[in-house]
Symmetry: C2
Subunit: 414 residues, 2 copies
């Protein structure tokens, strides 16, 4: 099977000021086309490092994909590094220069002189058109190995990868495919899950099975490598069925499903609607729900009731509960769910109130304590979760949002 | 200056199913302690790849930090790869085993047999205690190079890095420091920004100046490498002052400041409060605001008015505007901002309505069209933004949330 190395370029990446999300996206695309990523390398904006990484990657693999370092400023060195790695010099690509000029003209502006640099390519390379921005990409061969350099801006990179790199891959793949399936689970520990599918995870198994845990969601990853898509998919189907049998209701979806998209499908199938009342999650559940295209079919909206007065005035939470027990208790979660369901006239309603920290905790009510309410046509139900007082604010908030969506999911699959 | 290589382990990373956020965090910590990351490597869960990456990293650098592959399942191979890279064998570390047992006991559970594996370490290595979970870390020397292997779960990794790796770094740094400052900007293009600080960005300058763009925010990165923290900070202060002079009101903050935290500080300083009415952003602005600890001091909450009925019933948006002009127009943004400000009694209110796509666009109102309203004590003001109909849903939503917070920021700095 052909292998690829990915190179991400940027001092902001090696210094850790930006998280590299491009490599994951590119790797996923390559895997789906039968190319296995053997490594990602991240190097700073220093020409020697970049040129050395390009040379090493081209030696070690069958394909090199580079992202970043094609912008218009002084520290964008990918063009020069490609020229150095191939002992070439840079020349202006006139059609790229025209494209950049037109890009600015269309927006009623004159091209800043700095953007001229973006039309430079090594003399033996070809430019790749950028439909979304000013930076063209570059493609060339280093020895026998094709290299593609794309901009670091994710949506530009994705458009150009799809337009220019994928067709070349398809032509070169020689029929070998790797297909991957993810089976996502919620409400089960990683070790327990691992024990239940222990036999499927043996080394050298085919398909390969592995697991990944992230913030309350554990994904079982199944990879099949074989001669045809059909055959690979049959292998994946069979193993997925086994995994589902072992893990039961903990499985909520596969591949690109998110908890929010799955809950959305369930609601849509029942012609049901949802509203939310969020305190410590502050809009996170709404943001996750509306991240799904078409969510207006079932999500009516919600109230972010951060202040106690909002809980009282908009959600009819009884002031006496707030005074007596504080905002973080079973009774407030109950009243918030009831209040928002009534106000919005939705079929279901979710509520969350908790202590996200780092301040505001006490012995009786530590940081990480969260109450989650679910109002359905039949009843109102509240659960308590403790995320641990050492957990960071973001872990507690995301964990609470996931637990809330999972509570609704379990109610809907009943 | 000492250099480090980071290795992230996991097929879910090389296949692109998970984004590696650990490397960025570790690199940032190292940079602050005078260790420059020369590269990040990401390799799959295959023992030969992992062992080879460890050997290569130890040869190329002065310090190796590894994350991932220490879980309890079959595909967690970092322990075995460390043993292979050092020609050693694995033995049970009894104090780690005790810790793992106690972890489960405290939670009223019996340790699953699978977790026993996590107590294995190469015989010449030392275990690193994990205060938050079951997987201990491992430290050993490969030749002269110290290597630290930590779990992949971010909050466990961070706690162990801080407890075990940082003190060793401080002892070994020999007084050389790298200090970094980020100056964050909003509402200016990258090329224009680059031209205004062109002279500061020359190669070989000291301090080094570079830029990074991400979703409407451009950050100027200033790195100073010198003999003392004080001296480095004076260099940073001087360059930061120059950058601010050139970029004016586009600069909104530095280092860990976010738009939400800066707006929050401005509101707190004026004893002012804020509420939000979100349609296409669906809670994203609320989620960003409440990501900031202490945001309850100024953020009262908001209404996620996804459905038109919610805009009408909770925010008093005139039904006739909705019928005549649709939900995405100047007038609805205006009415939403007015409505939520009245309802919550806040000093300021932000509203957003737009077309996040991929469906729902037309020639007159394309995907990416967003109206943002700001109600202040003096007036209500609406701006229009076009994010481009090719932009993905997440780019439009995040861009709209940033533009809304920036609109309020500019009002508050007036």
């Amino acid at each position: 099977m052909p292998t690829a190395w990915l190179i991400s370029i940027g001092t902001e990446l090696t210094l850790g000021q930006t998280v590299d999300t491009n490599s994951a996206w590119i790797a996923e695309q390559l895997a789906a086309h039968g190319v296995r990523c053997a490594a990602h390398m991240t190097v700073p904006d220093e020409i020697e490092y970049v040129a050395a990484a390009i040379r090493r990657a081209a030696e070690a693999s069958d394909l090199v994909v580079i992202s970043g370092g094609l912008g218009p400023t002084e520290d964008d060195l990918t063009r020069a590094a490609l020229a150095r790695a191939t002992d070439d010099s840079l020349t202006i690509d006139t059609s790229s220069l025209e494209h950049i000029r037109a890009f600015f003209e269309k927006r009623g502006r004159v091209m800043p002189e700095a953007n001229r640099t973006q039309a430079l390519v090594p003399s033996r390379a070809r430019a790749i058109a950028n439909p979304c921005g000013t930076a063209p990409g570059i493609t060339l061969h280093l020895g026998q190995t094709p290299c593609y350099a794309l901009p670091g801006v994710p949506f530009e990179m994705k458009a150009m990868f799809t337009d220019a790199v994928l067709p070349a891959l398809r032509a070169a793949s020689g029929g070998r495919v790797v297909r991957t399936r993810l089976v996502h689970c919620c409400g089960i520990g990683e070790a327990e899950l691992g024990e239940r599918i222990h036999d499927l995870m043996q080394r050298g198994g085919s398909p390969e099975v592995g697991t990944t845990a992230a913030l309350g969601i554990i994904s079982v990853r199944i990879n099949a490598t074989t001669a045809s898509v059909d055959k690979a998919d049959r292998m994946l189907d069979k193993t997925e069925a086994l995994v589902r049998e072992r893990l039961g209701v903990a499985v909520f979806g596969r591949d690109r499903d998110s908890l929010a998209s799955v809950v959305g499908e369930q609601l849509r199938a029942r012609d049901a609607t949802l509203s939310t009342a969020e305190s410590c999650t502050g809009g996170l559940i709404g943001a996750q729900l509306t991240d799904v295209p078409g969510s207006s079919d079932y999500f009516l909206g919600g109230v972010i009731s951060y202040a106690n007065e909002v809980k009282r005035d908009l959600l009819d939470v009884d002031e006496s509960i707030l005074l007596e027990h504080g905002a973080v208790c079973d009774g407030v979660a109950h009243a918030m769910a009831r209040g928002v369901r009534r106000k919005f006239g939705s079929t279901y309603a979710l509520s969350v109130t908790g202590i996200a920290g780092p301040g505001g905790g006490s012995d009786a009510k530590p940081v990480g304590l969260v109450y989650i309410g679910l109002a359905s046509p039949q009843r109102i139900h509240v659960i308590e979760r403790r995320f641990g007082s050492a957990a960071p604010r973001s872990v507690i908030r995301t964990g609470a949002a996931i637990a809330a969506l999972n509570l609704l999911r379990l109610e809907l699959v009943k």
